[in-house]
């Protein structure tokens, strides 16, 4: 805004110097050693200078001149009233004018300080960034010309922010924070309030100017800033911090899930939220929760910062082919203050049909050569492979005579009906056939999967055995008894205690061997009595166990028992004088 300045100045006599410039601008009006005023291009200056002495009004061209004599600058202020009407005037545009009055008589200059000057100033603002986040500093520099050396407030250019380029004068917006630059320090940094509304603002560069009026109208109301002193202005944008995150991906959907089972999304990391800002996290959906970082899963809203993670938990539906949707919402604001909602969903859809078929199972090998009409047990199987939570019926059937097939679930009571799910154990039993060589078997079915368990009774004798002691003869006499295998005092398991396929032990005879040596005898012997049933044909099925004969002598310690046709003989190769006894057993096997 072009401004018209009118400073009527009546010079005062300030003593006589040797140059005769004794009339100066009055100190009562202007203070300081540099009395004057900046102006900008386009301003109109129409000072009326009165020299009561009637002498000349002179000037010097440089305020630092040693002698403010027109002869030093070689020029007078242009115009009779010293009006700088436009900056087109080369003189007024480039020259600092210092105004003095000259006495009619010669004399020493008592004080050349009180001189009035006009100084044209210009400047251009350069912002480091035309867009800043509120709370940050608006920084830049000013390229200027015309400022005098720093020292006084007047020798500065001031920067102040207006709410917009169209707002009227003095409507500053940055909280009144006034920045300035000098001729030697041209950078500036202006703080912005953290609650500054986002928008476009104007930064105005103003020069210092004393207040005053022109024709009764105030041409300046503030020394430091105002449209009238505005040298340059730029606009810049203030934005608020961003508090909403970038889009995140929770993953999924998870399909064909088990019923009523918790599933978890990808763990997503919040990005894009400005430092110090938080967004609001909320979740919706049946059986849906979320957690931040390693916290606990919750349904309550909470705040989240940049870099924090979120994991969503969604419990699948309790019904088949049903979908549960967890919707995670993170709400914040963009730089313009508008609310931005970022959402993603994590869904679980339960399986459309449950697996009611278990894995195959094996009831074990057949029980063979078992006693007729006895209870026979299969191996115990563990149910696996059913769908989560699926329970399926167990059935059992028998084939044979008086089979009585039954099963026990988890070691419970044996019966013929029941149901199982994964992890249950099942054991079956049946009654063996009541005929020699008879076969009874049962079929256990679980969810369409079956296995059989067979028991075959010992067959009728066919004569002649084969193999060794641990053979597989299908004839002969087997004797069973029940044994308490669990230690609970109840005989629960049928065991074979006698049979044709293993050598059992029968004690035939026992006694005490007496070996007597009268005089360090050699080959001392002891003969057992005749052993019942022992003969030359079967003698090799008789054995003898005897307590040790150990000799006090260190020599010739050989003692051996030999098998005769009907008895045993014990021989000591050398026996020190004395009597030696040992218990013996003869067994048949």
């Amino acid at each position: 805004m072009a401004t018209t300045y009118d400073y009527p100045i009546t010079l005062e006599y300030d003593g006589v110097d040797n140059l005769g410039y004794s009339y100066v601008a009055p100190s009562t009006t202007y203070t300081g050693t540099q009395l004057g005023m900046y102006f900008k291009a386009g301003d109109t200056i129409s000072n009326t200078i009165t020299n009561p002495s009637g002498g000349n009004i002179g000037d010097v061209a440089a305020n630092a001149a040693a002698n403010p004599d027109p002869s030093n600058s070689g020029a007078l202020p242009p115009g009779s009233t010293y009006t700088a009407s436009t900056d087109s005037s080369a003189v007024w545009a480039t020259t600092t004018w210092l105004i003095f009055g000259r006495n009619t008589s010669s004399g020493n200059p008592a004080d050349r300080s009180n001189r009035f000057w006009w100084q044209r100033v210009s400047g251009t603002i350069s912002l480091d960034s035309s867009t800043i986040t509120r709370g940050a500093n608006l920084t830049g520099s000013v390229s200027q010309s015309g400022l005098l050396s720093p020292g006084l407030n007047s020798h500065r250019l001031y920067l102040l922010t207006w709410t917009s380029a169209t707002t009227p004068d003095f409507t500053y917006a940055n909280g009144g924070s006034l920045a300035s630059i000098t001729s030697s320090s041209t950078s500036f940094s202006i703080s912005t309030p953290t609650n500054m509304p986002p928008g476009t603002y104007e930064l105005v560069l103003s020069h210092y100017a004393p207040t005053g009026s022109n024709g009764g109208a105030a041409y300046q109301t503030n020394n430091f800033w105002g449209r009238n002193q505005q040298v340059h202005s730029v606009t810049y944008t203030v934005q608020q911090p961003r508090s909403y995150p970038d889009q995140y991906e929770l993953g999924g959907p998870t399909t064909n899930t088990a019923l009523s089972t918790k599933y978890y999304s990808n763990t997503v990391t919040m990005a894009g939220i400005d430092s110090g800002e938080t967004a609001t996290v909320s979740i919706s959906g049946t059986n849906s929760k979320y957690k931040i970082g390693s916290g606990s899963y919750t349904t309550a809203d909470s705040q989240i910062s940049n870099g924090q993670t979120i994991t969503v938990e969604n419990e699948s539906n309790s019904s088949l082919n049903s979908t549960n949707v967890a919707t995670l919402t993170v709400t914040g604001q963009n730089n313009s203050g508008a609310t931005v909602v970022v959402t993603d969903t994590f869904t679980t859809t339960t399986t459309s049909s449950e697996d009611t078929t278990p894995n195959a199972f094996d009831l074990g090998d057949s029980a063979t050569n078992v006693v007729a009409s006895t209870t026979q047990y299969s191996d115990t199987i563990t149910v696996a492979g059913l769908g989560s939570g699926v329970t399926t019926a167990v059935t059992i059937a028998g084939t044979g005579t008086t089979v009585n097939p039954q099963f026990s679930i988890n070691s419970g009571t044996y019966g013929t009906s029941g149901s199982v799910d994964n992890g249950d154990t099942v054991r079956t039993r049946l009654t063996s056939s009541n005929t020699p060589g008879g076969t009874n078997f049962l079929t256990l079915s679980i969810g369409g999967v079956s296995d059989t368990f067979t028991a075959v009774t010992a067959g009728a004798g066919t004569g002649g055995g084969t193999g060794g002691a641990s053979g597989t003869a299908g004839y002969g006499l087997e004797i069973f008894n029940y044994r308490d295998t669990t230690g609970n005092g109840v005989a629960d398991t049928l065991v074979n205690i006698f049979g044709p396929n293993f050598r059992s032990c029968s004690l035939v005879s026992s006694g005490t061997a007496h070996l007597q040596s009268s005089n360090n005898d050699t080959n001392v012997t002891y003969n057992t009595p005749t052993i019942a049933g022992m003969n030359s044909t079967n003698k090799n099925t008789f054995g003898m166990v005897m307590g040790p004969i150990y000799l006090a002598s260190l020599m010739n310690v050989s003692v051996l028992a030999t098998r005769n046709n009907t008895n045993f003989t014990v021989t000591a190769g050398f026996l020190p004088t004395g009597n030696y006894y040992a218990t013996w057993w003869v067994f048949r096997y």
Binding site: G468, A473, N481, R483, D484, C505, A532, V545, L554
Partner: protein
């Protein structure tokens, strides 16, 4: 044979002969563990009742060299009740006529109305299935003198080798497709232990007669029979064969 019961099993193994006086079937009377150097009780082993003793070391330690806990040897007795050099697991066989059932206050374990009873002409019991719930299977019987003697600890006279000792004294070699199966098999075998005698490390001597060593490194049972004298006295290391039969068995 004009009366009674005579039975043979597979391949002619002897089962019962009620005509052979005093032939008494023996079933399992007791099993358990007895600490080292502790006399067995008569409930565990009663020599008066003609109990037959089978045993094995409780230790299943595997050692590439030697582990004394794996010896099976008696080192004394009190009235016929033995004590062992090491902690030992035993299986005592009792003749059927002398068996006393232990459960339910009955003389018969599972009642009296079923089972097999075989008697001699005078009513002496040869076999009574009601007295036993467990049998004992003999898996090997070796004659006296079948093993050369020596020890897993000292090998043999003249500083013999382990291989030589094993060749002459292996009573049993465990079977199994894995080491754990072999170990389980080895620890299921009991040896006739009553004929053993051990006087270890007395005045610088070791004396083992009719004893055994369970080797869980090579999964074998060895016969042990030796006397190790005091070398400075010029007493030689002497090996001793097994004096009588050796029987091996398993609990059924």
């Amino acid at each position: 044979m004009t009366y009674g019961l005579f039975m043979e099993g597979n391949a002619g193994i002897f089962q019962i002969d009620s005509a052979a006086t005093n032939t008494r079937w023996s079933g399992l009377k007791a099993t358990g563990t007895i600490a080292a150097n502790t006399f067995m009780t008569t409930a565990q082993m009663n020599i008066t009742n003609k109990d037959l003793l089978f045993a094995r070391p409780t230790s299943t330690t595997s050692s590439s060299t030697f582990n004394s806990a794996n010896y099976c040897a008696i080192m004394g007795n009190s009235g016929g009740a033995p004590k062992f050099l090491t902690e030992t697991s035993f299986a005592t066989l009792q003749t059927t006529g002398g068996a006393i059932a232990t459960s339910g206050g009955s003389s018969n374990i599972n009642g009296s109305d079923y089972g097999v009873l075989v008697q001699e002409a005078d009513g002496t019991v040869v076999y009574d299935s009601r007295k036993f719930t467990t049998g004992f299977e003999l898996i090997s019987i070796f004659d006296a003198g079948a093993f050369t003697g020596g020890s897993r600890e000292h090998y043999a006279a003249g500083g013999g080798s382990l291989a030589t000792y094993q060749a002459g004294n292996t009573v049993y070699t465990a079977t199994g497709s894995t080491n754990s199966e072999k170990a389980a098999d080895l620890s299921s075998v009991y040896v006739s232990a009553y004929n053993s005698w051990a006087i270890p490390n007395i005045n610088g001597t070791d004396w083992f007669i009719n004893s055994f060593y369970y080797d869980y490194y090579y999964y074998k049972i060895y016969f042990v029979g030796f006397f190790e004298g005091i070398s400075t006295m010029g007493v030689p290391f002497s090996v001793m064969k097994n004096q009588t039969n050796i029987a091996l068995g398993r609990i059924k």
